[in-house]
Symmetry: C2
């Protein structure tokens, strides 16, 4: 017996909308097209290896935009165009330097400025370090212990949580709010343990948000391995001081673009289905899993529909969003345009959790539309996707809820994502061709079903 | 809503045996122990990096046996012992040399002798090459086209099959039977396209079986990338000859050992549950996914039960089997001993499909025992395992069906396994700590449930 059969039997109780054979055959055609081609993987290789890091506002982001246009044209989209958006423009401005001074001398620290953070200036920061395990501990230490020091937040991702996104959601507040919370008590700088689920030598970056009520202080992340090492030293009171120099700064907001490729719906062209990922990436890495994968999967949805001759009844739009990482300017522009043009957005699907083997869809919709989609589940089981759950979809399509769209986020297996998220090891080689393709198959299948049946 | 909840609701219909809260709490304790410790991963690192390749009969296999004893003792097993077994002993005898002669000159081929194959002798083989896409094509070519040549089997794994084990099962006959089938028509040697689901430069080895009716001819595998390249050259009739030298030979069968660690059952010590993987590996690689993962997971089952104080009612035995790769001597010895001692084997679980993120269990049992286990499914859903299907379990425990045991094989996600199976890239770094641990959790949970409830 196959897993599909077990679950199908159980699901047969409320399995009515799914037309069965014809849809199953259409999805099999899509799957054969995607698995039998090397296109998604070749696209990802090009984006990662020929372009590479592509933070909003950078020269590489412009190259990625040009690449996106040609990739969507090659995929067979009817119309390919750029959608202007204003984006945050943060520059690292050169490699950071960091060290710890112990009784034995200096030891180098590998670190990364947090995204959108201020630099130290050329003179850097040199100050005593105080380790803090939680905001509660920070508050109890207060100004008398914190003032003039570098706060080292050493809060690990909780390994006991099975879904690593939950552990990330719990830990990431030390990166996003840690600098301002420390500045409140007079800290001069912040070092944050990377939000990573493994122990290695890579610092993970990511955006931080300053609270305007307090001074903007420089902030960096250090790797989990170095966080463990530093904590050990501090326990033995062997650290005299730490220092770092960062060169980063926020430039003015910059004009950039979302890249959009469309297949016009043959029966209901005014009903729009969006499928997307984000084109920008952090500057440390190739942005392969985050989110080159989501981009090439979205392009692959277009390509597979065209290549199989499965012309959609409703309009399908692949969107490569700009500026997800540090501003969501692209998401805002896409939403603003939808409202301004009074577009009818019925559904949006995002892939921004990596190109790992797919497991489910997380759905934001009312109960009626949720159940309509959930009834299609048996069609997905042969491709390794076995649940629809209610939950969040993704940053880039989130605004579209207000435009009336039902939203979905692809949920791949989460175990490896935070080994490389926002770090220099997020490279093409970390993506499995077949896992990437399985994600694209399930995305294309859901887009196809919505394009055929709608959601009402 | 969580995926577990959706499926639990659906499964509630026939969900009666599963005691629910207590079992769920016991499994959560097991999970916390495994996820909160680094032990499985540290064991795997030691086995891969300090010992490495460990083909049956080799000096490294002996080191691995000694390591297995100490690891099972450290895990807390009551009794740890060696079980003698006679194993095949094949030696590669030095790195192979291969080349293709074209009009432009010689081009080196990277190749690997097939396991258990004969060597070429020091003079090697030099002969024209004929590409064959299937056994049907081989038969139609016949002796007049094959005699005196090297047959190049270029049959890829079918990328359209979602479960890569199905594609492997389809393609592996060219490795296992290809040499003898070609020898039947007078071929002097065989080159086989690696059974790999990706395109890269690593030849994958694996066992071949000679048919006593025909001469034993030397046989090697080449990488998928070089198979594509060679096929291209042959289409342009640009290959004049190919040659290779292999130094391998079969030695006499050798005495070796399974390593066994046991927790005696507190209520029904005579009812035996086996959980195992295989300790031997091919000589090209560290044998991390195949099957260091299964070994350290099996040891982790013992360790987690002891560390959590979940003393099993029935006897739980972790077995590190020897010689799975090229003879199954360990599996035979374990079975023979079970029969000779009239042991009561109620259940055996094998992990030999890699330490990837778990998806299901494949079960060999009658309907009653299958359904008994299947009703436990809701307990596994929080840990990413969502199906029990009827199917094969594994080579090392397969014999135990004849001893009356119900069998299960852990089915991890299959997408990446054949990128590295039997090849030099099957190294420690290819294993995700969390994926490995999730597999161990699901294994320990199933062992725990059978140890508590039995299967009758």
């Amino acid at each position: 017996m196959k897993p599909g059969i077990i679950l199908c039997t159980l699901l047969a109780i409320n399995f009515s909308v799914c037309a069965g054979d014809n849809d199953s055959l259409a999805i099999r055609k899509i799957a054969n097209e995607i698995l039998g081609s090397n296109k998604a993987y070749a696209n990802l290789e090009y984006l990662c290896k020929k372009i590479g890091p592509r933070l909003s506002g950078s020269a590489n982001a412009s190259k990625a935009i040009a690449w996106g246009v040609s990739a969507l044209k090659a995929a067979g989209a009817d119309t390919v165009y750029l959608q202007p958006c204003m984006v945050k423009h943060w520059e690292r401005g050169g490699k950071e330097t960091g060290f710890v001074r112990t009784r034995e001398g200096l030891r180098q620290l590998k670190l990364s400025a947090l995204g959108n953070s201020v630099g130290t200036g050329p003179g850097g920061i040199l100050a005593p370090v105080i380790e803090v395990k939680s905001f509660a501990e920070l508050d109890s230490l207060g100004e008398k212990n914190i003032k003039g020091k570098i706060v080292f937040y050493n809060y690990p991702m909780n390994p006991l949580l099975i879904n690593t996104f939950e552990a990330y959601g719990d830990a990431v507040r030390y990166r996003s709010s840690g600098p301002s919370n420390a500045a409140k008590y007079g800290a001069v700088g912040v070092m944050v343990r990377s939000q990573a689920s493994n122990t290695d030598q890579h610092p993970h970056t990511g955006v931080t948000f300053y609270n305007g009520a307090f001074p903007k202080i420089p902030a960096v992340s250090i790797s989990t391995a170095e966080a463990n090492w530093l904590s050990e030293l501090l326990q033995h009171k062997d650290v005299l001081e730490a220092g770092f120099i960062t060169h980063c700064k926020m430039e003015n907001d910059t004009l950039s673009y979302n890249v959009i490729g469309e297949i016009k719906g043959s029966k209901f062209p005014g009903e729009i289905i969006t499928v997307g990922g984000h084109l920008d990436s952090w500057d440390l890495a190739e942005g392969a899993q985050d989110d080159g994968a989501g981009c090439v999967q979205s392009i692959e949805v277009i390509r597979a529909l065209i290549a199989t001759g499965l012309r959609p009844d409703r309009t399908v739009r692949a969107v490569l969003f700009m500026n997800e990482e540090n501003g969501a300017g692209g998401a805002q522009a896409y939403f603003d345009s939808a409202i301004a043009k009074k577009e009818n957005h019925i559904f949006a699907l995002e892939s921004d959790a990596g190109g790992f083997t797919p497991r489910g869809f997380s759905i934001t919709a009312d109960a009626a539309r949720f159940h309509r989609m959930e009834k299609w589940l048996p069609l997905f089981l042969p491709y390794g996707l076995y649940y629809f759950k209610e939950g969040e979809s993704g940053v880039d399509i989130g605004f579209l809820e207000k435009a009336g769209a039902a939203l979905a986020g692809l949920e791949p297996d989460s175990q490896r994502y935070f080994d490389l998220h926002h770090a220099e090891n997020d490279v093409f080689e970390a993506v499995s061709k077949r896992e990437l393709e399985l994600g694209a198959i399930n995305m294309a299948a859901l887009v196809w079903l919505v394009s055929k049946y709608g959601l009402n």
